[in-house]
Amino acid sequence: MGEGLDEILHYINSLRRMGISPGTERRVLREVYSHLEEEVRELEATGMPQEEAVHQAVAQFGPPRDIAQSMADIYARSSLREALAGAAPHFLIALTFLFHLWQRPSWVVFLATLTGGLALYGWGRGKPAWFYPWLGYSLAATLSMLFSAMLLAGWSVSRLLDTPGMGWGLWVVVGAYVPLALGILVAVAGRVAQQDWLHVSLMFLPLPVLAGWALRLQQQDKLLEQGRYRLQDMDPGMAVILAVLALSVIAFLRLRRRLLKISLLLSTTVGVLIVLSLSQGVPLNFLGFVLVASALAVFLLSPALLDHHGDPKEEPWASIHSEEPLAQGWRRAV
């Protein structure tokens, strides 16, 4: 294979690590490669030697560092407006807890409609970064509604069969719900991770907090036995936690470096855990704290496993060093 093509490979490799999502980076590299290969082919058709054609095509793109920097400016950092839009659901839910608005069905319906509507809107409009927190809350609402519906169905069946309480029916419901909920979570996360696994982490951010709140209610039987007014004791703490999440989302969307974004997510988790244990009176010793913090960190970073790096052999420029004639290799590659 012609040595000139090494220059293309070198250029493509220089463009790597733009600091943007791996999926977007692959898309940009593939686009640059397809441009270079078309230009080289056209120049060769005019009788220009391959090496010179490659050199000219690459030179016209300019320094790879400039392109990489421009792409990072576009994709790695959101505008302040987008960042505020991404933090808005956390602020709204924080206000819901602060003013005990969850007791008002009209507010809950409004919030659910707004959240679901914006999540659907964002999904249909190219999944902008601000929409992931909205998607996270929509997912939480969908999963809790699904659980309630299944619980109601289980209870109705128990009544029909004249079984006291739900008994085994509860286990059937839980046994059916867990894989179903996990399936929904993995399916949505898989789609989101096609763009960037960090967006899945952003989407998952409120889930441990909401799950912890629900479990705490369950644990203390406050919801069913002590009346709704005792539930209000937990509200200020939840409002603080959600405000911390909101600020964290603003910083996350404004940061450019991925490593800083990941560090921010992890430190937010630790911060939330501290506020949670102080405000909710959850007794956690040092070991317990480390274990819970580690579990939350693993949960938030687990979407990285969904990231598909792609087979390097399937990258269009993989054929550059193959033994095939140039045009044939390119045709196969793209």
């Binding site: 898309r27 640059v32 397809s34 441009h35 421009s70 190219g126």
Partner: protein
């Protein structure tokens, strides 16, 4: 020539929207089309084109899709969105007003 370069730089986005509004195009095709339609007056370079296309895409004004070209090879074709169409209409109107005002002062 530096003045023309500056003018082109300031108008890259509406020019791209205008071209993509005619039909879906991919990067290399856009560079050729800019040169052809301007009779060689404008030469858009790759280092300006691709960041501009991606910026427009992120703003939701255009949408890129991998599609086979007439040669059968996959190319990333950019399509204008409804939002992009609205922005283009507004930019054309602004340009008409601006160009008319400049012409009145230049006396051309």
């Amino acid at each position: 020539m530096a003045y023309v370069k500056e003018l082109l730089k300031g108008n890259t986005d509406p020019l791209l929207l205008s071209l993509i509004n005619l039909r879906a195009m991919y990067g290399y095709e856009i560079i050729k089309e800019v040169a052809r339609r301007s009779e060689g007056y404008f030469k858009l370079n790759e280092g300006t084109l691709y960041p501009a296309l991606h910026r427009l895409e992120k703003a939701g004004l255009i949408e890129g899709r991998w599609q086979p070209s007439i040669t059968g090879q996959e190319r990333r074709y950019y399509h204008i969105t409804d939002k992009g169409h609205d922005v283009l209409t507004a930019r054309r109107k602004e340009w008409k007003g601006f160009a008319r005002a400049v012409e009145l002062i230049f006396g051309v």
